[in-house]
């Protein structure tokens, strides 16, 4: 009964997010600030319902919701919205919402298509390292998702400025802000991912006697980490900021998506618990 309740709450949250997405997109083109404000209001409301869904799921499963694709995406979309709201507050710009909210809605829809039964916790997953490992991974990948959106905004702004068009330009954050926000978001994500990979390694040693087995999931997490490390090194030299950085941030997110979903669905290995 509680499982169904949790899913229903998530479905409601999804619908609210959809409405919020429409408002945020409207905000980009509207003259008044009403759509933007409505978008924020709806997003916060959706987040509250989403949080309720998370809590109900935790109670139903007897553990934090990390253990199958449905649960993971339920948690991932939650972090995505949370991080976005933090950024909206910090940047005082709602344009990012036009990118993040639709993306969140898409992931939420995908999650709702997944089987929502509670998977029993396998003995291999019964470890104190599980929660730190998965929660830091969630934070990292959500941050990389938002950095991806910011990088897209940067490229749109960059192309708009070259063509001297200002249709989008005044609503989107300026180049410097977009560039800097991408950097700070990736820095946060990078720190979280370092935590995720290291806690994963320590856990692997306790479970299997080896902290690194070059498992596809582990290796792809490392690949993602290396791409963002390259991005961060690019920042130190003036010439590599701007467009080149933005492209790297997008490549990084492609690697992130593959690490998250490509490996689980396309490759075998120790991490294929999510079946």
């Amino acid at each position: 009964m509680t499982i169904k309740l949790g899913v229903t709450l998530f479905q409601i949250a999804f619908v609210i997010y959809l409405a919020a997405a429409v408002c945020y997109i409207g905000h980009l083109t509207a003259r008044r600030s009403t759509p933007g404000k409505a978008g924020r209001l709806l997003l916060v409301a959706g987040l509250l319902v989403h949080t309720a869904s998370l809590v109900v799921r935790t109670i139903a499963a007897g553990r934090p919701p990390f253990l199958n694709v449905y649960e993971f995406m339920l948690s991932f979309t939650w972090v995505l919205v949370l991080l976005y709201l933090a950024l909206e507050f910090a940047m005082k710009n709602r344009a990012l919402g036009a990118f993040n909210t639709p993306l969140t809605a898409i992931f939420a829809l995908a999650a709702l298509c997944m089987p929502s039964a509670v998977s029993p916790t396998m003995p291999a997953l019964m470890s104190g390292w599980r929660v730190p490992h998965i929660s830091t991974a969630l934070l990292a990948y959500a941050a990389f998702g938002i950095a991806f959106e910011l990088a897209i905004i940067y490229l749109i702004q960059d192309s708009a400025q070259r063509k001297k068009k200002s249709f989008w330009s005044d609503r989107l954050p300026d180049l410097k802000t977009a560039d800097h926000a991408t950097y700070r978001t990736i820095a946060f994500g990078f720190m979280m991912q370092t935590l995720a990979v290291t806690t994963g390694a320590v856990w692997a040693e306790r479970a299997w006697g080896s902290y690194w087995s070059w498992d596809p999931k582990e290796t792809w997490a490392l690949i993602t980490w290396l791409i963002y490390a390259a991005y961060l090194h690019m920042r130190t030299t003036q010439r590599w900021r701007g467009r080149k950085s933005a492209v790297m941030a997008i490549i990084g997110f492609a690697a992130t998506l593959f690490t998250l979903f490509g490996v689980s669905f396309l490759m075998r290995g120790l991490h294929s618990y999510i079946q």
């Binding site: 029993p120 916790t121 396998m122 003995p123 291999a124 019964m126 470890s127 800097h180 700070r184 820095a187 946060f188 990078f190 720190m191 370092t194 935590l195 290291t198 390694a201 320590v202 856990w203 040693e205 306790r206 479970a207 299997w208 006697g209 080896s210 902290y211 690194w212 070059w214 596809p216 290796t219 792809w220 490392l222 690949i223 290396l226 791409i227 490390a229 390259a230 090194h233 690019m234 130190t236 030299t237 003036q238 590599w240 690697a255 490996v263 490759m267």
Partner: protein
């Protein structure tokens, strides 16, 4: 040459004269360059993809036979230990080391030897710079500026340059060392990994209930090695919930040194036993044998064992009787041949017979024939039914009991002396990354000169990671100078 030019958000270091250089110097310069890192990191990332697409360390049959020889020759079947990959890692280590050595001097100077006497041109070219005026004298203005800087938790150095007061204020100098610590940690992790590979090992061993081992088998080679002590399995249990989902795989292990019990632990996945640096991990399990007891018409008993082989298949574990599944016993002047027709690991009876592939309730379908081998016809065999542990069946004065089902545990055996180094590396890396991004090194350079009507103040600011953080500091300075009080 731009390679040696350090850009520190506006404060440039001057480059040496361009001149003819030899190969060693050219190599040093390449490896001291950030550009090399920006090139090597994506290459390592791309290379790492190869090992996730090509099956690693799989038996020969897993590969396409026409491609396998090429893959093997190029080292692609064990890619992460191949020459290519090790070369890449080595290049990155060299890059890291050279960059760190090269930049150490600058980092040291920036931390411990601040330069108060920045020329006006340099100050003006900093990340942020502003020109302010004040009706106060140079001395009064300097006092206000210093007070404001102190309020922002800056350490201040003051010098006099002619009639000008020159201030150098800095905070968060720890931030300079963040990248250093991170890079150092990578080298520590590499060292730990190499140490572990050279001096450590991975292996396997299986122990049946009631049995013990004093050796293990190396992974990928299967050589037998001595443990140096005895490890016994007292009991293996699978804990499960009502739906037969396993919740624990428990091996009750006991270590014996020279015949005496030394250490003991009930291990499970994620909770290994470590003794003298060697760790034992719960990895596998199975059924190793069945013991059947037969009591004859006169009360005499005979026992015999059936060996069981456990096999992992995509459909789950499967169990086969691997020894001869029949036994002739002679008791009380009579003979009886017992045949184990079938084996179920988790017997629940009824239509389904078997509930799971876990040995939770092993049972044998027993048949008996007291005229074998003279009479082999199918009708000579009597089906005695399924016997689970402690179940008995009677036939012509004989009692046949399934006395015992013996489980075995499969343990991973490992030793890794590099682990402390690797974990220290992890800790250092986290610390380094945090410091690099969240402890921001900020410098504010101020030159106060006398001008018509008071003082002219030139302020320059640099914030390593967060330029907007300077806004507050500049605002504070502006407010301080605008205030009416002399100090």
């Amino acid at each position: 040459m731009r390679n040696n030019l350090q850009e520190y958000d506006g404060i440039e270091e001057t480059a040496p004269e361009a001149k003819e250089i030899g190969l060693p110097a050219a190599l040093w310069r390449t490896f001291s360059s950030m550009k090399t890192a920006i090139v090597l990191l994506p290459i390592l990332a791309a290379a790492s993809v190869a090992g996730t697409i090509i099956e690693q360390n799989a038996p020969v049959g897993a590969y396409n036979p026409s491609v396998y020889p090429i893959l093997k020759a190029l080292g692609l079947t064990d890619f992460y230990h191949s020459g290519w990959y090790v070369l890449l890692l080595t290049l990155i280590s060299i890059n890291l080391t050279v960059c760190s050595i090269n930049r150490f001097g600058i980092a040291w100077r920036r931390t411990f030897q601040p330069r108060a006497s920045a020329k006006p041109g340099q100050t003006a070219r900093m990340q942020r710079s502003e020109k302010l005026t004040s009706p106060n004298t140079v001395e009064e203005a300097a006092g206000k500026v210093m007070a404001a800087l102190r309020a922002g938790a800056y350490r201040i150095l003051r010098e006099q340059d002619g009639g000008d007061a020159v201030l150098y204020a800095s905070k968060g100098r720890l931030g300079i060392w963040g990248p250093y610590l991170t890079h150092l940690s990578i080298l520590v992790i590499f060292a730990g990994a190499i140490l572990g590979n050279r001096l450590g090992f991975h292996g396997r061993v299986t122990i049946a209930e009631g049995d013990w081992t004093d050796s293990y088998y190396l992974e990928g080679g299967g050589q037998e090695r001595d443990l140096g002590f005895r490890l016994a399995l007292r009991k293996f249990t699978i804990e499960h919930d009502n739906d037969r989902n396993p919740t624990g795989y428990k091996s009750d292990l006991q270590v014996f040194e020279g015949g005496n019990p030394a250490a003991g632990k009930v291990i499970d996945v994620n909770h290994p036993l470590t003794y003298k640096g060697i760790s034992f991990f719960q990895a596998d399990y199975g059924l190793s044998g069945i013991v059947i007891r037969v009591t004859g018409p006169d009360g005499d008993t005979e026992r015999f064992s059936l060996d069981v082989k456990t096999q992992d298949t995509p459909a789950g574990k499967q169990y086969f009787i691997s020894s001869d599944p029949w036994k002739e016993v002679r008791l009380g002047g009579r003979k009886l041949t017992i045949f184990a027709h079938d084996l179920a690991p988790d017997y629940i009876g009824g239509e389904r017979i078997n509930a799971s592939d876990m040995p939770l309730n092993p049972a044998i379908l027993v048949m008996a024939n007291d005229r074998f081998p003279e009479y082999r016809g199918l009708d000579a065999w009597s089906k005695l039914g399924w016997l689970a542990v402690s179940d008995s069946a009677k036939y012509n004065g004989f009692t046949i009991t399934l006395e015992k089902a013996v489980d075995y545990t499969g343990l991973g055996v490992a030793r890794n002396p590099g682990l402390p180094a690797v974990y220290s590396g992890f800790g250092l890396m986290l610390l380094g990354v945090f410091i690099a991004f969240y402890v921001s090194h900020k410098v504010i350079s101020v030159r106060i000169s006398s001008s018509e009507g008071g003082a002219a103040i030139l302020i320059g600011g640099m914030s390593r990671s967060d330029p907007s953080a300077l806004d507050k500091d500049f605002e504070r300075l502006r407010n301080a100078l605008a205030s009416r009080a002399a100090r």
